[in-house]
Amino acid sequence: MSITMKKPAGRSRDAMAARVADDIPEGWVVNLGIGIPTLVANHVPTTREVIFHSENGVLGVGPAPAEGTEDPWLINAGKAYITLRDGASIVHQADSFALIRGGHLDLCVLGGYQVAENGDLANWATGENDAAPAVGGAMDLGAGAKRVWVLMEHVTKDGKPRIVSRCSYPLTALGSVTRIYTNLAVIDVEPDGFFLRETAPGVDFETVQSLTDAVLHRR
């Protein structure tokens, strides 16, 4: 497959986040990973009651506080100041991860380095030893949430596909990703492989397939 062609832009990061937000129904309990996934919260209207969870024990995270109104004892897993919605609750770290690991999150949206045909996710280490490794809650979220959606650029900065037959990077979780949102497409990960749900405006199937290192099925 050619990966030398010019990378099509497709959706912006904000548009990608908005696209994910569209698919989150009222009532879901959702954890957003650091990076692009964090932006998803901005695109869920507060009138739609989605309960955002933060690994450090906060359920019912609200919009970011206005400058000057921050409560210094209220931060999220990304260490940003947060507010609490009506209905919020706070638990300790083991209870917070019990909730993740016990299968009580309807959804987590994670960033990714690679997603494989079998649902394997690689998003915590590149296998290069240039820095101390860090994993945070990614393995717990990947193994524990009812649904794991990955939100990432379709290809790496140097144009390599991130959607692959088998992950070459160290794995985060085995067989757990069920949907991928990229700047170019929305793709389901099913027992029979990758199925294209939609392409981004102005992007055609052939382009997406050419930037994907595995077969993309169409319905």
Binding site: G27, V29, S89, I90, G102
Partner: protein, 226 residues
């Protein structure tokens, strides 16, 4: 708008079927969801497995449920009661099964189900009759037994306060098994003494976050029945 309140007992218990495994909160008479248990009796279903600490006690509807022949098996730590012989009689006659579990292992197995721990080792019960048939190994010089997570199809819970997201508080010693059972049930049904507005509960004082709760019925029950 998320609203987990249901208007009546029928909708609270809708869908519970014969053969279900049902956890029932409470320790002694306190924190036991009596209205839900009574409703269960009225459903006329059978072949139930009941997971409850005090399955043998006289108060509430559990003896009635057992007398009606609805219960195939009881999973508990203490099936005896000073003032009821329902369970003991049925057990002696071979009409009900018993899975006896040390109380802390029972609590930890329920907690494990909610917390995504499929199995854990514990020294409790190791080397005793209650560890028979279970995998054992020595860890740090201590004999331990492997115990599995204990799930339920349904968890019946009594709360003190609830909001429409299903956030709960419990009163006094009424907390007991309720929070861990709420998390271990695939369908968690709550009866609450008080219904409060969303935002009325202090986030730091919520004892069961609403995400563990599926349905809430407002039952201003009054004092625990003894």
């Amino acid at each position: 708008m998320i609203d987990k309140f249901v208007p009546d007992i029928a909708q609270a218990l809708a869908g519970i079927q014969s053969g279900a495994t049902i956890m029932i909160g409470g320790f002694g008479s306190v924190g036991q969801p009596n209205a839900l248990i009574d409703g269960l009796v009225d459903l006329g279903i059978t072949d139930l497995t009941i997971i409850a600490n005090n399955a043998g006690a006289a108060f509430g509807g559990l003896p009635k449920l057992m007398e009606a022949g609805a219960v195939r098996k009881v999973v508990c730590s203490y099936p005896r009661s000073a003032d009821s012989s329902t369970f003991v009689d049925l057990y002696r006659d071979g009409k009900i099964e018993l899975d006896l579990i040390p109380q802390g292992t029972l609590a930890e197995r329920i907690r494990a189900a909610g917390a995504g721990v499929p199995a854990f080792f514990t020294p409790t019960g190791a080397g005793t009759l209650l560890a028979r048939g279970k995998e054992s190994r020595e860890i740090n010089g201590r004999l331990c037994v492997l115990e599995e997570a204990l799930f339920a199809d349904i968890a019946l819970i009594e709360a003190w306060e609830a909001d429409r997201w299903g956030n709960l508080t419990f009163n006094g010693s009424g907390r007991n098994f309720n929070p861990i059972m709420a998390a271990a049930g695939r369908l968690t049904i709550v009866q609450t003494q008080h219904r409060v507005e969303l935002g009325a509960l202090n986030p730091a004082h919520v004892m069961t976050p609403g995400l563990y709760v599926n349905r809430v019925l407002h039952v201003p029950y009054g004092r625990p029945i003894r």
